[in-house]
């Protein structure tokens, strides 16, 4: 395989006694090789990159102004002029979808990152210190887990009031226990390792052990869970907007567009189709990439 020979050549010259086949540079290469082997995950990753580009350069890519109504073209189906048709005010749906990408990505990414940060901290503390601390955090997670995700989010938004920033908080809160649990279990196994005991025997502080030796062990789980949860977060944010608890209906949010189009389902179904399809593809792509990352980051799977 050509990629393989390049990988071998790029590594530092191997000393004769080094037995390990893969050098540190080779590890990143091995990861990419494993990831690229998974066709679906690769396609999904390309789609996600496209989503990021659209989110970053949205305003330059929209064929029409997403907020300008065109009363001569109300609820027109897909055509050469309007690829995804127009909505009930004659606004170009494609432009609105492109504009909404930024909103959707911002909401889902920030909520998952907030969940990851808090969940990881709680999981590390819970797994490392154990005892009542562990019990408190894990029982708290159990309580959050016992609610159906969306119901919990609706409850939180109901308390905090509607609006996108509250949607971020709500989606983040129900993401925290999943991170906390995963990181706790990785921490539990990592703290049993001999090198942690050896480090402790050299007088290292707990904080040092957690940061230097245990946190790096949890990174791959964090990465995989982040990509898995983003799909769920997109869906949850869209659902909340659909229910009128997230984005205002004037904002070009995918969920809100779906909600608005619902009224015209029988006469202009394309208003619902395209936002629905976009949500579906985005969620699917993040889940596929999550699966791909999990397999590629697992040192046990052979390339």
């Amino acid at each position: 395989m050509s990629g393989n020979s390049i990988g071998m050549g790029a590594g530092a010259p191997l000393p004769a006694e080094a037995l390990a086949p893969e050098k540190s540079k080779g590890r990143a290469r091995a990861f990419f090789r494993k990831f690229c082997k998974q066709r679906l995950a690769l396609i999904a990753a390309c789609f996600i990159i496209l989503l990021f580009i659209v989110a970053a350069f949205g305003p330059f890519l929209t064929p029409y102004n997403p907020d300008t109504p065109d009363y001569d073209a109300l609820m027109k189906g897909p055509s050469a002029a309007h690829w995804a048709g127009t909505d009930e005010y004659g606004r170009d749906i494609l432009s609105r979808l492109i504009d909404g990408t930024r909103l959707t990505m911002a909401v889902s990414l920030s909520s998952v990152l907030i969940a990851a940060v808090f969940g990881t901290i709680l999981g590390l503390l819970s797994g490392f210190y154990g005892g009542w601390w562990d019990r408190l955090i894990m029982r708290g997670s159990d309580v959050l887990f016992s609610f159906p995700d969306l119901l919990l989010a609706i409850g939180i938004v109901a308390i905090l009031g509607p609006g996108l920033s509250n949607v971020v908080i709500a989606v983040a809160v129900f993401g925290i226990p999943s991170f906390a649990r995963i990181i706790r279990s990785v921490t539990l196994s990592a703290k049993q390792t001999l090198f942690v005991e050896a480090t402790r025997s050299m007088g290292a502080k707990n904080s040092r052990i957690i940061w230097r030796h245990i946190f790096p062990e949890t990174l791959s789980s964090i990465i995989v869970n982040v990509s898995m949860r983003i799909g769920g977060a997109i869906l949850a944010a869209a659902s909340l907007s659909f229910l009128g608890m997230g984005a205002k209906t004037t904002e070009p949010d995918w969920g809100a567009m779906l909600s608005m189009g619902r009224d015209y389902l029988s006469i202009a179904p394309h208003i619902v189709y395209f936002p629905g399809l976009t949500i579906f593809l985005a969620v699917l792509a993040f889940n596929l990439v999550g699966d791909g990352l999990r397999d590629a980051l697992d040192p046990k799977t052979k390339n």
Binding site: P15, F195, A198, M202, G203, H213
Partner: protein
């Protein structure tokens, strides 16, 4: 009496298991002088490693707990130190080498980072000076290409090399006491000899005391000044190394020595001690070795003898009814 470097008195460590608790170390006494190597010998599960972990107070992540006795290091009782003071002592005054060199280094961090961490922590060196010191330590333990090895990952080193790195790490802050928990068990024989030589040399250069935990009597004969034999969480015999081999007192020690294969001895079968160590949760009331002892008497099953200093030699103790009559007249009972 001169103060000993380490004085362990009546050390008792229990493990919680299910509802009850199991005593892994049941009142262990021994001492180590400055510059002395004490061997701690016994078969698997007799409490050797738990004793060493208790001295270092590294039982936090286990269900184990020190429930009695004292561990005095240069006069201060380690069991009473706060966690913060204990942390200051670990790696600085007391250092430890573990049995498995393959897993005692973090595989994802470079050697240098792991080696300089305790140096910066305990000696207060800056990054650059710590690195120089680390390279110096690597050279001291006989690692070739020390300047390169320091930037390599553990998987690039062999087992013997990794154990050298562990020794370098343990020795880097000039500890006064080194606890080596079966440091050569995972290595092959030629490397074992090298590592033992290295430890001996370093010990003499740095004048530190050493607690060498092993079940290899060959290593004991090679390295130790005195030996403590443990059985079922208790010390059963203590003797200077020469006397232990020439004149073992406790039947268990005799059995251990007999079960070492000897050159030029034409026997078909190797002697072995029959039976197994008793289950820690179901200890017999009398001598713990009685069930396996060829000399067991009724008395042995009924009550447990004490560890008593023997007459004739300095620092000889034995826990056996057979040696009670050899006890020092009016000797203090340990």
């Amino acid at each position: 009496m001169t103060q000993h470097l380490l004085e362990v008195e009546g050390l008792k460590t229990e493990f919680k298991r299910g509802g009850g608790s199991v005593t892994a170390v049941a009142g262990v006494d021994f001492h180590i002088r400055k510059g002395e190597v004490l061997g701690l010998v016994g078969e698997s599960g007799c409490g050797k490693s738990v004793t060493s972990l208790s001295i270092m107070r590294l039982l936090k992540d286990t269900p184990g707990k020190i429930t009695g006795g004292s561990v005095r290091f240069e006069g201060t009782d380690l069991t009473k130190l706060s966690e913060k003071d204990m942390r200051r002592a670990r790696g600085n005054d007391l250092a430890m080498i573990f049995q498995e060199p393959m897993t005692s280094l973090n595989p994802v961090l470079r050697i240098g980072l792991q080696l300089t961490e305790p140096i910066m922590l305990h000696l207060g060196y800056g990054r650059k000076k710590a690195r120089e010191h680390a390279i110096h330590m690597l050279k001291l333990v006989g690692i070739p290409r020390a300047e390169e090895v320091i930037d390599e990952y553990p998987h690039q080193l062999s087992g013997g090399m990794r154990q050298r790195v562990m020794i370098a790490m343990a020795m880097s802050c000039n500890p006064k006491l080194l606890i080596a928990d079966e440091p050569t068990t995972a290595l092959d024989v030629t490397i074992q000899a090298q590592i033992l030589d290295l430890m001996k040399r370093l010990k003499e250069e740095q004048e530190m005391g050493m607690l060498l935990i092993t079940h290899d009597l060959g290593v004991v004969a090679e390295m130790c000044d005195r030996v403590v034999v443990m059985y079922a969480g208790r010390v059963v015999e203590e003797a200077p190394v020469q006397e232990l081999f020439s004149n073992p007192k406790h039947p268990y020690t005799k059995g251990l020595i007999q079960s070492v294969p000897k050159l030029r001895q034409k026997v078909r079968r190797l002697e072995s001690i029959k039976g197994n160590v008793p289950d820690l949760s179901q200890m017999p009331p009398g001598c713990k070795f009685a069930a396996r002892c060829p000399f067991a008497m009724e008395k042995c099953v009924a009550s447990e003898p004490e560890l008593i200093p023997l007459a004739g030699a300095s620092e000889r103790k034995s826990r056996c009814w057979l040696t009670q009559d050899e006890a020092v007249e009016g000797g203090d009972r340990a």
